[in-house]
């Protein structure tokens, strides 16, 4: 059951082979057993989860959806009514959300059961889950290694089979990179497809929620439930409802895969290269052709990102001031002292670093040189992709330059850490959909293959991923230590 696909779980539930309460109990027990080691969850509420499961079991007929009764975990960036919602920060350590994020609302409406809230890098700022106030999450494949970030808790939970699926968010790679490092499938949709309402903002123009699961098929089903116009998010796109699973079975004959030469240069580990090349060979077997494309400005994506994202974050995080909710220093003098102490105590180092960078690049006299210039680069990067998609249907390359790294290996050097997202960041800057799927191993750790589609190309990307997963079994592998 722990390895079952969402489809398999749905039919088991429908055929009453298992109840949602039993299924939920199974995963809750596994969480209880393994979470102390992995630290993938920051909040678990057995009673609440079982009550939802019970309600799901009562549902019949038209009230049931393809996901009714299936448990999942939420990244702790999504507000869920009555749940503590921390965003991985001491600042919100005591914050109970009084409302549901759009995504949570929609998955609840679909009948899914929330198991708990997953650990994450503080305010989604990090690529290793080491910045969480609640301690690092461990990679189930090797507990000496990071799970990636920022959706590391979600990734570790699925990889260790503590949850069949989870929500994540991706600002610069935060779904795709942990999916790659934990051997999972994750998709960041086109910007605007999934509402950001109730998703605690890191960098508003880049943040996008998406599903993380074991397969492309699972992701398609989850995305069907998560996506959709939300009038409460002005950047949410009003488009006809799509079935993201509609093209899953389409043959790949004639598919043109673009390989950006900039993604295959130095900087990628050999083991990663070998796995990615093998995956491309498999695609050729499936009838696809590969063509070299170029994204000439992709080298500028990391610096542009580390201007834009911190700029937006510095402003987005201003609301955490200790006045209305969240952490407030126990003792303070005047108003400024209240702000300074509450924020100094409530935020961790990486968050502070980015607030400082952000405030700096927006300040008078520097705005043009940094923020405006970065926005110009952003447009160039988007134009690069538009040009590349003239010659191909989907772009492929590595998700991350290496497999999961050891704790502490990069945390002392922010720039090294930032470079773990070198292949993923451009996708957010351009607002494109991106995916990571498992495509092999390097030194017994999973390697991720990144798929990048044109705007609104989710259905095709999921098809391309699904056909590969039908031909391979990388996505079925699980860390042996958690098999029992």
């Amino acid at each position: 059951m722990i390895n079952a696909s969402l489809k398999e779980l749905a039919s088991a539930l429908a055929e009453k082979k298992i109840s949602s309460v039993e299924l939920t109990t199974l995963f809750l027990d596994r969480i209880e057993q393994h979470n102390p080691m992995l630290n993938a969850f920051v909040t678990i509420d057995r009673a609440k989860a079982l009550a939802t499961a019970q309600a799901a079991d009562q549902k019949v007929g038209a009230d049931r959806t393809a996901l009714t009764g299936i448990p999942l975990a939420h990244k702790d960036i999504f507000c869920a009514e009555g749940w503590r919602t921390t965003c991985g920060s001491k600042m919100l350590g005591n914050f109970t959300a009084p409302y549901d994020a759009h995504v949570v609302e929609k998955l609840n409406a679909a009948g899914m059961v929330t198991l708990g809230k997953c650990n994450m890098d503080e305010f989604a700022m990090g690529s290793s889950n080491e910045t969480s106030f609640f301690g690092p999450v461990k990679n189930p494949w090797d507990t000496a290694c990071v799970p990636g970030g920022s959706s590391g808790g979600s990734a570790a939970a699925i990889a260790a089979r503590l949850a069949p699926a989870a929500t994540g968010t991706d600002t610069g790679g935060s779904i795709r990179q942990p999916a790659a490092l934990c051997g999972l499938t994750g998709i960041k949709p086109t910007y605007g497809v999934v509402s950001r309402y109730g998703m605690i903002a890191f960098a508003s123009s880049l943040d996008q929620g998406g599903p993380m699961a074991k397969s492309a098929e699972d992701c398609a089903l989850l995305l069907n439930a998560m996506a959709g116009f939300d009038p409460r998010d002005s950047t949410s796109l009003e488009r006809p409802t799509e079935d993201y699973a509609r093209d899953l079975e389409k043959p790949l004959a004639g598919l043109r895969i673009g390989l950006p030469k900039e993604f295959f240069g130095a900087g990628m580990d050999d083991g990663v290269r070998v796995a990615v090349e093998a995956a491309l060979a498999e695609y050729r077997q499936l009838g696809a052709t590969t063509v070299e494309v170029s994204l000439p400005n992709s080298g500028l994506s990391v610096p542009a990102y580390y201007v834009i994202a911190p700029a937006e974050a510095s402003s987005n995080l201003s609301r955490f001031d200790g006045v209305r909710y969240g952490h407030r220093a126990a003792e303070y003098g005047d108003l400024n002292d209240l702000y300074a102490k509450s924020r100094a105590e409530g935020f961790g180092d990486e968050v502070k670093r980015r607030i400082l960078i952000g405030a700096y690049v927006l300040s008078h006299g520097y705005y043009d040189a940094y923020y405006l210039k970065a926005q110009k680069i952003r447009r160039l990067i988007a134009a690069d992709f538009t040009a590349a998609f003239k010659d191909c249907d989907v772009i492929m390359g590595p998700t991350a330059p290496s497999v999961a790294f050891k704790f502490g290996e990069k945390s002392a050097d922010p720039v090294q850490m930032y470079l773990s997202d070198i292949y993923t960041i451009a996708v957010n800057l351009a607002g494109l959909p991106g995916m990571s799927i498992p495509c092999g191993f390097d030194r017994d750790l999973p390697v991720g293959l990144q798929l990048i589609g044109p705007w609104f190309g989710e259905a095709q990307m999921l098809n391309v991923a699904h056909r590969y997963q039908q031909a391979t079994d990388w996505h079925r592998r699980m860390p042996a230590a958690f098999a029992g």
Binding site: L92, R196, I200, V323
Partner: protein, 479 residues
């Protein structure tokens, strides 16, 4: 010659009359219990997002059209970042580089002079909440009901050169925004408040350093604050000190301005486009639709009053100060007849306005309806009522003592006596009763004539037509 030239620019915050806030669905009604009209978006819970209220944009477009400005086809909302407890997000959503309304202007009247004040821009933004420093014993209370209330910030060029001009502009603007229905104009509740940028210079010298007086919420304070500030700046310079750029507050109790913060501690607001909001795009057909629904504007109406009713520019401007007053006037004229337009204007601006003022009533709730006033004016025109009796009828109408002027005239027998055969016997009686006055008149004392008229009017209880009495009396005394 005054050796100093004064330069004034005004920034006005007009609270827009929308049902809900500019970026949330919470109500904007005034006077609720603290924090009862602040929703998740207004208190800036984690994860909430702003959604622009279309009605606020409609208000901005109406304003732009009314002042002959350009409506930007694409304007941008920006974040103005600063920390303050009544600013829940830690930033205010405003417009910075590209505002929704550009240029335009207003004609003002100061004495007999007419002047055109240029506007720089008008932009949409949200209001902050309120910090309540009293009642909390060393603590500050925060009320976020006002947070997110839509504002239009209207900025002039530094075109005004006296407090009188500044007040004339503010009044004209106040009249316009209430006229087009985008602002209730309630200054006490803060719906319309001005910041004044004031500097002084020697004629032909470059602009002096300005100081900004914040939050003036009455025309009187605006005048007092500017006058005080001008004098203060002149004194400073004449005593050899330099004016430092500063933000100052006006204290109505002392009548003085005092510095709140200097340029050195001015904020760096780190403006940048709000990524949560799309650019505001306004298509020409939307503007056309709003334009079609706009009422006749004050200046057009004033011109029409002069042409159609032969009113003076002053009368036309006074009547068209609000839409309600103009409407009352026009209804009165419609019922009284165009020939009585000037009399109607006099009554609306005179007796009615004074009475409304005395009873602190608005013209919209006037106890005397326009048709009632018109009915009375018709009786003045046809000689039924003397102006003295008309005042009595007016008072009776005000107090609801009759349906209309005719009923009151009838009931009280107020009809003017214009029948010579009825007046003559009374004159005779008065003359025989006052031989001394008759003698004095004949001896050349004109005053005695007036005394006799007074006696006759008294005897007729004021109903005799005074002009007729004059004529008849003259004839009798001559005879």
């Amino acid at each position: 010659m005054n050796p100093w030239e004064v330069v004034i620019g005004l920034e006005t915050h007009a609270q827009l009359q929308t049902k809900s806030k500019i970026f949330s669905g919470a109500s904007t009604a005034f006077g609720a219990e603290p924090n009862r009209q602040a929703c998740a978006v207004d208190i800036a819970l984690p994860g909430v997002l702003p959604v622009l209220n279309r009605e606020a944009v409609v208000c901005a477009i109406k304003f732009g059209l009314a002042i002959g400005a350009e409506i930007a086809p694409r304007s941008i909302f920006a974040r103005k970042n600063y920390f303050y407890p009544d600013l829940p997000k830690g930033y205010q959503i405003s417009q910075f580089e590209i505002p929704v309304v550009l240029g335009g202007g207003l004609t003002i009247h100061v004495g007999d002079r007419e002047k055109y004040v240029h506007l720089t821009r008008a932009h949409l933004e949200e209001d902050a909440g309120k910090s309540l420093h009293e009642d909390f014993h060393g603590k500050t209370g925060i009320d976020l009901n006002r947070a997110g209330t839509p504002l239009l910030e209207i900025v002039t060029e530094p075109d005004m050169c006296s407090s009188a001009e500044a007040v004339a502009y503010a009044k004209s603007l106040h009249s316009l925004v209430t006229w087009i229905g985008i602002c209730d104009g309630n200054m006490q509740e803060g719906s319309f408040r001005c910041d004044a940028n004031v500097s002084v210079r020697k004629p032909d010298a470059p602009l002096g350093t300005r100081r900004e007086i914040k939050n003036l919420n009455s025309f009187r304070f605006l005048q007092q604050a500017i006058d005080y500030e001008i004098q203060w700046q002149i004194n400073e310079i004449e005593e050899g000190r330099k004016i430092q750029q500063a933000t100052v507050l006006f204290d109505p109790d002392t009548g003085e301005t005092r510095s709140m913060r200097s340029k050195e501690d001015a904020h760096d607001y780190r403006y940048f486009p709000d990524p949560d909001l799309l650019p505001l795009e306004i298509k020409p057909d939307w503007i056309a639709e709003i334009k079609a629904g706009l009422p006749e504007l004050p200046q057009a109406m004033q011109a029409r009053f002069q042409v159609d009713y032969g009113l003076s520019p002053y009368d036309a401007a006074t009547l068209a100060v609000t839409r309600a007053s103009a409407q009352f006037f026009e209804e009165t004229v419609a019922a009284a007849g165009k020939d009585n337009a000037k009399t109607s204007a006099n009554w609306v601006m005179g007796e009615l306005a004074a009475r409304l003022n005395r009873d602190e009533k608005e013209i919209t709730t006037s106890p005397i309806a326009a048709v009632q006033l018109a009915g009375m004016i018709k009786r003045i025109a046809d000689g039924t009522l003397s102006s003295k009796l008309a005042k009595e009828v007016f008072e009776a109408l005000w107090n609801g003592e009759g349906q209309d002027a005719d009923a009151i005239i009838e009931a009280r027998g107020l009809k003017q006596m214009s029948d010579a055969s009825a007046i003559e016997p009374i004159i005779d009686e008065v003359l025989s009763a006052n031989p001394k006055s008759v003698e004095e008149f004949r001896a050349g004392k004109d005053k005695a004539f007036n005394a006799l008229v007074g006696q006759i009017m008294k005897a007729t209880k004021g109903k005799a037509n005074p002009q007729q009495v004059n004529e008849l009396l003259k004839k009798k005394l001559a005879g």
